[in-house]
Amino acid sequence: MSLYDLIWGGVGLLLTVMVLSYLIGDNLLFRLAAYLFVGVTAGFLSVLIINQILWPFLLQPLINGLWIEKIWVLIPLTLAVLLVISQFQRFKGLGRVPLAFLAGLTAAVTVGGAVFGTLIPQLRAVVNAFDPLDWYQSPGMPWLRITEAVVMLVGVLGTLSYFHFGRRRRDQNDPSEVRPGFFEGLAKVGGVFLGMALGTVFAGIFSTALVAMIDRLLVISEFVMRLMGGS
C-alpha cells in the first residue's frame, strides 16, 4: 500500500468512525465529520455549477458565441444579474422577475411531468392489464392475469379513495374524519394496499441502508488487515 493510499484509506476510516459515533448520540467527532462534508460538498457543487452550467450556458456564448447567440444570452444574463442584485435589501424587488420566470417554468414542467410523465403511464398500466390478448399469451395462467388485473384495479381505486379530502356531510360541527360512504369503504381496502406498498419500499430502504453499514464495516476491517500486513 502506497503512502498516498494509506492516507486516503486512513481518512476514510476516520470519517466512517466519526459518523458512526452518532449512534451513541450527537458528539464532537460527528460534528467535525458532518461539517467537513458540508464544506466539501458546497465547494464541489459550486465548482460543478460554474463549470457545467454558468460557463457553457451563459459565459461561453457571451464571450465566444456568434452575435445572434450573444443577443439571446442577454435575456438569461439580465435575469441572472437581477437575481444576484436582489440579494441586497435595497434591490429586493428586482428578484421577482427572475423568480417569476423560474416559477412559471417549473409550474409548466410540473404540469407536463405530472400528467404525461406519471399520471398517464400509471393509468395506462392499470388499464392495459385488462387486455384479453395478454391474458391468454402465457398458456395455463390466464386466471392469474385476470386476478392480478382486478386486484390492481381495486387496489388503485382503494388507494385513491383513501386520499379523498371531503368528509361525510352530517352536522356542521361534527369533527368527522370519515369520508363519504362509498369512499370510506374503498379507503379501508386502499389502506391495506397502501401499507403493503410502503412496507415493500421500507424493506428496500432498509436493505440499502444495511448494505451501506456492511460496506463500511468491510472497509474498516480490510483497511486494518492491510495495515497489519494481512491480505
Binding site: T16, L32, F101, L123, G155, S207
Partner: protein
Amino acid sequence: MKKILPIIIACATGLTILAGYFFQDRLAPILGLLINWGIVLVGLAGLIGIAYLVRMHIFRIAHRQKGGFYSVIVLLAFLFTLIAGLILTPQNAFYRDWVLNIQTPVEASLLAVLSVTLLYASLYLVRTRGWTPMSVGFLVGALVSLILNLAVFQFQPGSRGEVWALVLRRLPLAGLRGILIGMALGGLIVGLRVLLAVDRPYEGE
C-alpha cells in the same frame, strides 16, 4: 405594473412551455431555449443558496455564536474545495480523490446510521401506529419483501410456489400506482395554481 409584470412573466413562460408540449414540432427550439435559461437560473440559485450557507457560518464566527468552531471547518473545507476545483478542474486525480474520499465514507456512514435508526423504529411499529389495516399491511409487505429478497425459498420455474411469489411481489404495485397517481394529481393542481397566478411564490404569496 410592479405587481403585474412578474405575474405576466410567470404565466407567459408557463403557457409557452405548455404550448411547447402541445406543438412539439414547431415550438421545440423555444422550449429548449427557455429550459436552458431555467437551468442557468437554477444553477445560479444554487450558488446563491451556497452563499447563504457561507454567510451563516461567517455570521456565526463573527458573533462568536455557539458552534463557531465548526463553522471554521465548513469555511476552510469550502474554500479549499472551491479554489482547488477552479484551479485544478474537477477532472484532476488529486481533486477527485479529495472530494470522493470525504464524500463517500460520510454518505455511506450516514446510511449506515439510518439502518440502525430504522431497525430500532421498526421494533416500535405497533406502538407508533397501533393495529390498523395499514400498519398490518405495512408489516406484511415489509416481511414478505425481505423474505423474497433474501431468496430463502427457491422455486422451480412454472411451479405454484413461483406463481405465488410473483403474485406477492406484484401485489404492492397497486398501492404504489395509487400513490403515484395521487401525487401526480396533486402536482398538476399545484402547477396550475402557479400558472393561474393563484399561488405567487415570487411575490411572497
